[in-house]
C-alpha cells in the first residue's frame, strides 16, 4: 500500500549522531521508518583520482586521512603494496613495531567508538572516561611519530625512527585493564542500556555475508573471519578472534570491549619481540624517483571497522595507473538500507551507531 502521508525526514548531513556527514533520507510513518536511503559523498576528497596525479612518496602522507581514527592501518596497506612490488623483506624489529602501533591504534579507535555510542544513546559521562584513556595513547603516538593522529610514521621498507619508551605502553595496558572493569560496571550493568541494545538491530548471518560486511559486525553474527590470522605481520602471534552468536547491538558492543583485551594481549607479545631483537636493521627504499614494475598489486588488513584493502595497478611510471581502496564502513552504510527498515527513530540511531560507521572511510 503506498501510504502517501509518509513524513520524509532528512537525518541530514549536519546531525549530531551520524559520526560525520552521513545523510539518511528516511520515510517515516509516525516514528516507524518505512524506508531509508543513505546519501553519501559530502566528504569525498577524491583519494583515488588524487593518486593518479601524485607520485608514491607524495601520495603516502594523505593515506592515513582515509580513516583518521585508524591511520596506521592505511599507511601499513600502502607500504605493503610498495614492499610487495619491490619484494623487500621487513626486519623482525620493524614488524614488531608495526604490530604494536597497529594494535594501539585499534584500541584507540574502539575506545572512541564506545564513548560515541553511549553518547548516541544519551549517556553523558562514559564519553569522557573513554577519551581520558584514548588521550594516553595519542600522547604516546605524538611522542613516537610527531603527530597525534596523522602520524605518517611507517615508510617504504621500515619506520621513520626507532621506537623508544616502551614502558609507557606497559603502564597504559595496566591502566586500561582496570578501566575496562570500570566501563563494565557503568555500562554493562546499566538496565536502560541493556534494554536499548538487546535484541535491536539483529544482523542475520546471510544478510551480513551478502552485504560484504566484515570485521566485528560479522564476527558478532557468528562468522569466524578475522584477517589478522592470515596477515604476514601477525605470524607467530597466538591470537583468538572473538566470535559471538548474539547478532544484536549488545553483542557488537561486547565484541568490541573484548577486542580491547585481545589487542592488549597482542601488544604484550609485540613488546616481548621488541625486547628480543633490538637492532633496527631495516633496508629502506629510496622513494624519490620510485617506479613500481608494471603489474597489479594487492594488500589487505583487518582494520577496526572491517577488511581494508588497497589495489594498485601500475604501468611502470612513478604514478599509479589506478588505485582502489576498499574500506569497512562503505558496506556498513550500504547495509543500513536493509537494517533500518521497520525500526523506530530512536532505535535507528542506536542500530546505526552500533555498526561503527565513520564517514571519511565511506566517502574516500
Amino acid at each position: 500500500m503506498t501510504n502517501t502521508n509518509l513524513l520524509k525526514l532528512n537525518l541530514g548531513p549536519q546531525h549530531p549522531s551520524t559520526h560525520g556527514v552521513l545523510r539518511l533520507i528516511l520515510e517515516l510513518d509516525g516514528e516507524k521508518i518505512v524506508s531509508c536511503k543513505p546519501d553519501v559523498g559530502y566528504l569525498h576528497r577524491g583519494m583515488e583520482k588524487m593518486a593518479e596525479r601524485l607520485s608514491y612518496v607524495q601520495y603516502y602522507p594523505t593515506v592515513d586521512r582515509i580513516d583518521y581514527l585508524a591511520g596506521f592501518f592505511y599507511s601499513e596497506l600502502f607500504c605493503e603494496i610498495i614492499e610487495k612490488a619491490l619484494n623487500v623483506e621487513l626486519s623482525e624489529r620493524v614488524k614488531a613495531i608495526r604490530v604494536l602501533l597497529l594494535e594501539l591504534n585499534r584500541i584507540a579507535s574502539h575506545l572512541l567508538w564506545i564513548g560515541a555510542y553511549l553518547m548516541d544513546l544519551g549517556a553523558v559521562s562514559p564519553f569522557f572516561y573513554t577519551f581520558r584513556e584514548r588521550e594516553l595513547i595519542l600522547k604516546y603516538f605524538e611522542k613516537i611519530t610527531g603527530q597525534r593522529m596523522m602520524n605518517n610514521y611507517f615508510i617504504f621498507g621500515g619506520v621513520r625512527r626507532d621506537i623508544f619508551d616502551i614502558e609507557d605502553v606497559e603502564e597504559f595496558l595496566e591502566i586500561l585493564k582496570t578501566k575496562i572493569k570500570d566501563y563494565e560496571r557503568i555500562i554493562d550493568s546499566n538496565p536502560i542500556f541493556l534494554q536499548r541494545t538487546k535484541g535491536k538491530g539483529v544482523l542475520e548471518q546471510n544478510v551480513a555475508l551478502n552485504g560484504a560486511i566484515t570485521g566485528v559486525n560479522l564476527r558478532a553474527s557468528g562468522v569466524n573471519l578475522d584477517f589478522r590470522t592470515k596477515h604476514k605481520l601477525y605470524e607467530g602471534y597466538e591470537f583468538t578472534p572473538i566470535v559471538s552468536e548474539g547478532k544484536d547491538c549488545y553483542t557488537r558492543y561486547r565484541a568490541r570491549v573484548l577486542e580491547l583485551n585481545e589487542s592488549s594481549k597482542l601488544i604484550k607479545q609485540a613488546i616481548e619481540k621488541l625486547k628480543q631483537n633490538s637492532a633496527l636493521n631495516q633496508t629502506l627504499i629510496q622513494p624519490i624517483g620510485l617506479k613500481l614494475p608494471a603489474g597489479e598489486f594487492y594488500s589487505e588488513i583487518e582494520a577496526p571497522r572491517g577488511l581494508a584493502s588497497c589495489y594498485v595497478k601500475s604501468d611502470g611510471e612513478n604514478k599509479p595507473y589506478r588505485l582502489k581502496w576498499r574500506t569497512g564502513s562503505y558496506y556498513a552504510v550500504n547495509l543500513l538500507r536493509k537494517l533500518l527498515k521497520g525500526t523506530y527513530l530512536n532505535d535507528a540511531i542506536a542500530i546505526a551507531g552500533s555498526l561503527d560507521i565513520i564517514l571519511p572511510e565511506v566517502d574516500k
Partner: protein, 120 residues
C-alpha cells in the same frame, strides 16, 4: 527486576566514585601542552642549497623556491614532515610552534631568505 536495580546502584556508585578524583583538564592558554621533540609544527628553513627534493616530495605543492627566497604556503602545508625528512642537507626543521592562527592572509605564506649560498 532485582538484577536491574542492583545494576542501577552499581553503575551509579562507580560514577559517584569519579566525583572525588582530581580533574584531568588542562587549562590551555595558561598551561601549555608538553610536546615531544619529534613534534611536527611550523617548518623553519635555513641554509638551503636549492636542490628541489622538497618540492618533489611535498604532497600538496606548498613549497616554491625563487632565486633567493624559499616560500612555504601554509594554507597548503599539511605538516606531514616529508620535506624535513627527505632534505639531503636537512636544513628544513619542523619547529614545535602550532599556534598559527592569524588575522591576515599573507601571514600564511612564510618567506625565508636563502641568498647567502656561498658561505660554507
Amino acid at each position: 527486576m532485582l538484577k536491574g536495580i542492583k545494576g542501577l546502584i552499581v553503575s551509579m556508585l562507580t560514577v559517584f566514585k569519579h566525583l572525588f578524583k582530581n580533574s584531568v583538564t588542562l587549562e590551555y592558554p595558561e598551561k601549555k601542552i608538553i610536546l615531544s621533540n619529534n613534534f611536527r609544527g611550523m617548518p623553519i628553513v635555513e641554509g638551503c642549497i636549492k636542490c628541489g627534493t622538497c618540492i618533489k616530495v611535498c604532497p600538496s605543492g606548498a613549497i616554491k623556491i625563487e632565486s633567493d627566497n624559499f616560500n612555504i604556503n601554509m594554507e597548503k602545508c599539511i605538516f606531514c614532515g616529508n620535506c624535513a625528512y627527505y632534505c639531503p642537507k636537512n636544513c628544513i626543521k619542523m619547529s614545535d610552534n602550532y599556534e598559527l592562527a592569524s588575522s591576515d592572509k599573507n601571514d600564511l605564506s612564510l618567506n625565508f631568505d636563502i641568498s647567502k649560498k656561498g658561505e660554507e
